[in-house]
């Protein structure tokens, strides 16, 4: 099902959870809504589900307005972070719940319900627990049952609110793989909320990044990494160093470091001075023991964290730019084998400068 949200506003007392938000989700996609806590992502999900109502704005499903449709009639499957399974019912009855509620005329025969429930339990690989109670299952199993329950009544839309938030890392990883397979099997439009960007990478086709009740950027994970629309996105995606610089008479400085960024100067020629944010990703650095031209940064190695295929270095600028995270491949690192305390010259290979203007411009260095 296609979803459109237009001019959505939702206010809780002083806190504006959604602020003139527009969103379009094509049918059949698996989309992650990503953002820090308090950005309004759960509110957006709950409004789409019908568990919350909009103060202003409009919500359409497949082009039909659904702003005031009660939750019961929306045919959405909702999966909660804490499973919300019915503790007094067996697993079988939990999954059958949505089917048994249908009005007598639409309700499938008992044998049909039974087959449907057992099929779903087989799909989530939990057939043997049909007669148990939720309290007898592990967290990962419960969440799979919650999925099966949500899918039982054939929803047009599947909404997941931090579905893996209460599980440990190993189970979380398995369930993400599993969710992707599920989506390939049952290609229902799926929206899931998360604050964990690795989760978004592993599961979603597209990612919606939210900040303070608005959408900051939409794109594939690759697009967001390669082309962040704002320092916030760059920072939230991880793996980026943000510096606060000064711009005067067309030159940009961070501390004592001068950034030569000719193409950029032209675009803000009318801004005589401002305070831009400079973003350099942690893998966009070349390190050496010799200065490499005027643009190299003078730094000292503070700490070293080898982790598998990459080595992370914590550098500190000797020119007042603060600390810098650098990620080298094992191969790059083995060439030099820098040690803590050592002075290192760092050359950024790609610098992105954000002024107050919404779009940052790429500066080839």
């Amino acid at each position: 099902m296609r979803i459109e949200v237009q001019g959505a506003i939702k206010q809780f007392g002083q806190y504006r959870a959604l602020d003139q938000l527009d969103l379009h989700i094509p049918a059949g996609e698996m989309v992650a809504i990503l953002g820090p806590s308090g950005c309004g992502k759960t509110t957006l999900l709950r409004i789409i589900a019908g568990l919350e109502s909009l103060d202003h704005g409009m919500l359409c499903f497949d082009g039909v307005e659904a702003t005031h449709t009660p939750v019961q009639e929306r045919r959405v499957g909702f999966v909660f972070q804490h499973y919300a399974l019915f503790g007094h019912m067996t697993i079988f009855e939990n999954v059958a719940f949505g089917l048994r509620l249908k009005p007598r005329k639409q309700r499938p025969a008992e044998s049909v319900i039974r087959k449907r429930v057992l099929d779903l339990l087989a799909m989530v690989q939990l057939e043997p627990v049909a007669s148990r109670y939720p309290a007898q299952l592990s967290g990962g199993q419960r969440q799979r049952i919650a999925f099966a329950r949500a899918l039982a009544a054939e929803p047009r839309l599947l909404l997941l609110d931090e579905p893996f938030g209460a599980l440990d890392a190993r189970v979380r990883h398995d369930l993400r793989q599993w969710l992707r397979q599920m989506h390939a099997l049952v290609p229902v439009t799926t929206l899931f909320v998360t604050h964990d960007q690795t989760e978004a990478v592993e599961v979603a086709e597209r990612v919606v990044v939210m900040k303070q009740g608005r959408i900051e950027q939409i794109g594939t994970m690759d697009e967001l990494h390669a082309n962040p629309a704002s320092p916030f996105v760059a920072d939230f995606m991880g793996g980026a160093n943000l510096f606060h610089g000064r711009m005067e008479n067309g030159t940009t400085r961070i501390g004592e470091i001068l950034l030569e960024s000719a193409p950029f100067q032209a675009s803000v020629a009318d801004a005589a001075s401002c305070s831009p944010v400079i973003c350099i990703r942690s893998h966009d650095w070349q390190l050496g023991r010799q200065p490499n031209g005027q643009r190299t940064w003078h730094t000292v190695v503070r700490h070293l964290r080898p982790s598998g295929a990459v080595v992370r270095l914590g550098l500190e600028s000797l020119q007042g730019a603060g600390s810098i995270d650098v990620e080298l491949t094992r191969e790059q690192y083995d060439k030099h084998r820098f040690q803590p305390g050592e002075t290192v010259f760092a050359l950024p290979t790609q610098v992105r400068i954000f002024t107050d203007a919404p779009k940052g411009s790429v500066v080839p260095n």
């Binding site: 939750v71 019961q72 019915f86 503790g87 007094h88 009544a153």
Partner: protein, 273 residues
């Protein structure tokens, strides 16, 4: 021999608990039992089967049961309102619930009797439409309802507060309307707590004396409760008769409470929350 050491002091706490229960509960009760065994089984049976005693037992159990059932419903409703609705002055309402605990039961009885007697404010209105309350079994039920209300409210309230809001939202997203959600999801989650409150209100109602005697009228075969009968025996220096009655009351109450507890255990095995 190696002694098992419990790091959390289990043996100490267990010892204190057993000593305390023995001193406060078991000792007086076993004395009652011993005393009641003195007259021998025949007299015992004679006392139990006398029509007046049987009638008193009937009044006691049925009024306590009725009151506990009324409280099961109304106490549940009160807890629901206190937890779910944003009311002005809710804190005051919440404090009011505990008043029947704090009030001397005799005060409650006298007040209720004054209100519901044929000349009282409410009693005169009810008498006009032919429903006498004071000095009838309905009066007993009224007093016991007043006394037992806090038990149900105070057991249901915290459980209701802790009900995961997600449960009801999940039911709604699966297509359940308000009533379906209530009957199929919310109520079954709360039933064990309601049953606990009901049991406590019922047990309290069985033993209640102070508030009942003022409003019951205490007519033999109609509105005479067992605790009153026990006091009557004692006032006539018939200690043996009194303890025999007490003994029967104890046995029946214990059986009933055991039954309800077993029911609860069965339910919590079925619905492990």
């Amino acid at each position: 021999m190696k002694r098992t050491v419990h790091p959390d002091g289990v043996s100490l706490t267990l010892g204190i608990t057993l000593f305390y229960l023995g001193l406060v509960v078991l000792l007086p009760l076993s004395l009652t039992i011993l005393k009641s065994l003195q007259p021998g089984p025949e007299l015992f049976w004679q006392i139990f089967t006398s029509p007046r005693v049987l009638a008193a037992f009937q009044v006691s159990f049925f009024s306590a049961l009725t009151a506990a059932m009324i409280n099961g419903v109304l106490g549940f409703l009160t807890a629901w309102v206190l937890v779910r609705y944003p009311l002005p002055g809710k804190k005051i309402l919440d404090a009011l619930v505990d008043l029947p605990f704090a009030l001397p039961t005799a005060v409650a009885g006298i007040t209720l009797a004054a209100l519901y007697s044929p000349t009282g404010w409410i009693g005169s209105l009810l008498a006009r439409i032919g429903i006498p309350v004071a000095y009838t079994p309905s009066g007993i039920v009224l007093a016991l309802t007043f006394i037992g209300l806090p038990f149900v409210v105070r057991t249901v309230q915290p459980v209701l507060q802790a009900v995961d809001g997600g449960l009801e939202e999940a039911a709604a997203s699966l297509g359940a309307g308000r009533w379906q959600t209530f009957w199929r999801v919310t109520l079954p989650t709360l039933i064990p707590a309601v049953l606990t409150g009901f049991t406590m209100a019922f047990a309290r109602g069985l033993g209640e004396y102070g508030s009942v005697i003022f409003i019951a009228g205490n007519r033999p075969f109609v509105s005479e409760i067992v605790p009153l009968l026990i006091i009557t025996h004692l006032e006539q220096y018939d200690v043996i008769g009194a303890t025999a009655l007490a003994m029967i009351m104890l046995a029946v109450s214990f059986l009933l409470l055991l039954l309800i507890n077993l029911m609860q255990a069965w339910m919590s095995r079925r619905y492990p929350v």
